[in-house]
Structure formats: structure tokens, C-alpha cells
């Protein structure tokens, strides 16, 4: 058994030596990693979902399970599949969903999940920008990192579930295997981290890595030359987000020339997460 020695070895080595890196480091560099991000002082990670290219294959759903140890009964990313129209002019579409890593509203730049978190602001933390600059920020049970990722710190979580209720997209759940650090009688909240453990090592998220349609495009929205920035500009995607009326300012944009978004999207029902389970009918 051998370490692979061909291209990409530096990143792999980096990952293999990273203590505590979560399972499953990637083989492929993002192309949107530190090198590219260096253009801006701090990256603003985002994703574009190209609905033309999603073929509903579910590799993303499964790869996320594997990468992030997601237990049965919950998902961090799903495909919503919907058949509509009347035979023989029937259509079927696929809509990939995950945490939108919202910017938050214009006023305070705090997304609803962070706002709902009783443990935010919490511990002080330091983010090291690609140029080496240290940026101090406040973490919490749920918090926004300076690069825009919305993350959960199980150690600071009280397991109250307020963030789960607050998310208009319903992408959060309790992790039955992780105790809330500040109340071990409860389970900690859990959701997509945009594979922060991979991004931080210059490797694209697992779902992006496995997407055969290249429907998921990941990168730095602060870098005008990144693929995501170019797509947002080219397709004028600023408003092509889920539930724009919520004012959450998602950092996930959908390329949707056929106006399928509204037809395909099944919103969460209040208090329920039934919409966020990936099922092939």
C-alpha cells in the first residue's frame, strides 16, 4: 500500500498531517484555495449550484454522509426532486440544498441562526487570513467566521435547538452522537460546514469534489476572478437565491435559466424538517 505520489501530493500530505482533520481529505485542490484567495484579504466562501447540470445522481448526498460522519435520519445536503406538468409534457427537476451560509441582513449582517443562538457571541477566536493577517472575532454556539462560513461549535452549544427553529431553510438538526458542550444532557446542533476542514487545507468541499455534472461550483466571492464570482456576474445571480424575501442573503446562488427554482423548492413546514430528507420516489 502506497501513498500516492503524483500531483496533488502537497495538499494530501498537508491533510494527512493535520491533526484532527475530519475523515476523508480530498484528492483535488479547489483551485479556489489559498492561492486564489490571496487576491482578497479575506475570502468570502460561496457556492453556485448550476441547475442545468444537476442530474440528480445523489453522489453529493452520499459523499457528505461519508465525509462528515452524518448519522442516519438526517442530512447536511439533499436533492429535492419534483415531477410537474401533465403527460406527455411532464418535467422533472433536481434542486440541491444545503446550508446557505447566509450573510445576514443589511442592518447587522447576522443570519437568523446566529441571532437565535443564546451562546453568541461566545468565546473569542482568531481567524488567520491567507495573507497571514490575524483577525479576531467572536465565535459562539453558532457563529459566522470572518470568511463567511456559518459554523457550529459543539463545545459552546447548549443544545437548545433555537437555531434549528430559526433557520428558514431548515437545514439544521441535532446530532445524536455529539453532546452539547454546555449542556451534556442535550445533543448539539449540526449542519453543513462547507467542509471547513477541507477548505482550510486548500481542498474543495466533498460534495463539489464528487459532483460529476460540475453543478456545484465552489469559490471565493470576494475574488472577482473566481469561478463563482464570474458565474454570479455572468448569470446575474444576485437574486437567484432561496427565499430572498427572508433577507438572509444566502451565499449559495442558483443558475436557473428555466425558472425552475420556485417550482422545485419545497419549503420547510414550521417546526418540521421533513423537507430535508433525500428520497428517490
Amino acid at each position: 500500500m502506497n501513498e500516492i505520489t503524483k500531483k496533488g501530493i502537497t495538499r494530501r500530505e498537508l491533510l494527512s498531517s493535520t491533526a484532527g482533520a475530519a475523515a476523508g481529505a480530498a484528492a483535488i485542490a479547489t483551485g479556489a484555495g489559498p492561492a486564489e484567495a490571496a487576491a482578497a484579504e479575506v475570502p468570502r466562501w460561496g457556492m453556485v449550484m448550476d441547475l442545468r447540470k444537476c442530474i440528480g445522481c445523489r453522489a453529493c448526498t452520499v459523499s457528505c454522509k461519508s465525509e462528515n460522519d452524518v448519522s442516519l435520519g438526517r442530512f447536511r445536503t439533499v436533492i429535492q426532486e419534483k415531477t410537474h406538468g401533465t403527460f406527455p409534457n411532464t418535467k422533472k427537476g433536481f434542486l440541491p440544498l444545503m446550508c446557505n451560509h447566509c450573510e445576514g441582513n443589511e442592518k447587522d449582517g447576522v443570519p437568523p441562526c446566529v441571532k437565535a443562538c443564546p451562546e453568541f457571541p461566545g468565546e473569542r477566536a482568531t481567524f488567520i487570513a491567507p495573507n497571514g493577517k490575524k483577525i479576531r472575532y467572536r465565535s459562539g454556539g453558532t457563529y459566522k467566521r470572518p470568511d463567511g462560513l456559518i459554523l457550529v461549535d459543539a463545545a459552546q452549544c447548549v443544545g437548545c435547538g433555537k437555531c434549528i427553529d430559526a433557520c428558514p431553510y431548515g437545514v439544521r438538526s441535532f446530532n445524536p452522537y455529539v453532546k452539547a458542550g454546555k449542556d451534556p444532557t442535550k445533543q448539539a446542533a449540526d449542519k453543513c460546514t462547507m467542509c471547513a476542514h477541507r477548505i482550510d487545507n486548500g481542498v474543495e468541499p466533498s460534495c463539489v469534489n464528487t459532483c460529476q455534472g460540475r453543478a456545484r461550483i465552489f469559490g471565493d466571492l470576494n475574488d472577482p476572478d473566481s469561478n463563482v464570482s464570474k458565474l454570479v456576474k455572468e448569470h446575474n445571480l444576485a437574486k437567484n437565491v432561496l427565499l430572498p424575501e427572508e433577507g438572509t442573503h444566502p451565499q449559495l446562488f442558483y443558475v436557473d435559466p428555466n425558472n425552475e427554482l420556485n417550482t422545485l423548492y419545497t419549503k420547510r413546514q414550521k417546526g418540521k424538517l421533513d423537507h430535508f430528507v433525500d428520497q428517490i420516489p
Binding site: 475523515a23 454522509k65 461519508s66 460522519d69 452524518v70 448519522s71 446530532n175 452522537y177 455529539v178
Partner: protein, 218 residues
Amino acid sequence: MGNVRNDQADMAQARSNVYGLLASVFRAEPTTDFVNLLKSPEMSDAVAGLGISIEQILPDLPEDKLAEDLAVEYTRLFIGPGSRISPYESIHVENESNSSGEFWGKQTAEVKVFIEAAGLKYADDYVELPDHVSAEMEFMQRLASFESKSRREGKNEDAMFCKGIQKRFYDEHLSKWIPQFCEKIIDRSETPFFKEMAELTRDVIEFERENFSKKSDA
């Protein structure tokens, strides 16, 4: 002083022996030799004191037939196919990952590293997973034996250190799953042998809790 040392050495050796017995019980299908040893007056008496009737758990059948019955029951309980009470720690202990309850889970790696850190290695012809119940019992057998030897040789510090390691292995591993494992066997056995052996194992593990909680060890 000498008496205390001998006492402790004896106890450590006793513990080693009992772990050795338990390792043999779960290691594989009971051989005819093993069955005959269990039927020996000394063993019969010893387990009778624990309320186990050898005649009852090892019925008076022709040797081959008895061995066959025990092998089939062993297979049914521990080997499969399909549902079984897998004799591996990782199957029984939950953890925070997808490996929870699967073969070669988090505990498997931990047990392997633990045992190897103690200077032992898995035998070349050993085909089971590192966290098989018998490997864990055998490990304790070896540690307790080392402790006993150290006591006899007056290497008290070594002995105490070794006891500490046993306690750690007991706390981190044996106590985390052997009791449930035994309860499952007791619940699902269709013949008395493994049921009684599981009860015995459960009691030994419980008795060990007392052993490890005793303070004075000097």
C-alpha cells in the same frame, strides 16, 4: 510485608488465570479437551461454588455430539451468518462517528494501539479483529501475570504501574461493553453453556470493579 506481597502476587495471578479462562471460553468453539477440563472435578467444584452445575451446562452426550452442539451454538451466537452477538467491542460501543457499531470502528483501533503500546503484538496467525473479546481478555491475562511476576520479584513500582494500566484498560474498554455483551448472550442463548459462561463473565467483570477500586496497593 512479605505476606502482603505474596497476597497481592497471588491475587494478580488469580486474576490472570480467570481472564485466561474467559479468553478460552470466547476464543473459539469449545474443543473436546476444553470440555473435558471443565468437567474435571477441580473445575466442577470451583464453578459449583458459583452456582454453576457442569452437568447441567455440559450434558452427558458423546464427546463429538457435545462438541458439535457447542460449535453450532457458538456459530449461531457469535459468527452468524446474519444476526449475531458479534464478539467485537466496536459493535457494542457507540461513538460519535459513522463507524459506530460497525466492524473495525473507533474502539478497534484504540484497543490495537493500547495492546501494542504494552509491548505485545497480535500473533501472525491471528485472523480475528483486534478488539475480539478473547483478545481483550488475553491482554488482561498477560498484564495481570506480569503484575504478579513483578510483585514476586519485589518490583513493586512496576507492579503498581501495570495494575494502573489494567485499570485503564478496564475503564476504557472492558467495562464499557462486556456487561452488555454478556446480557445479550444471557438473553439469547438457547443452551445453558454460554448463558452460564456469560453470567460468570459478567460477575467477574463486576468483581474486578471492586478490585480496581481498592486503594491500598503498596
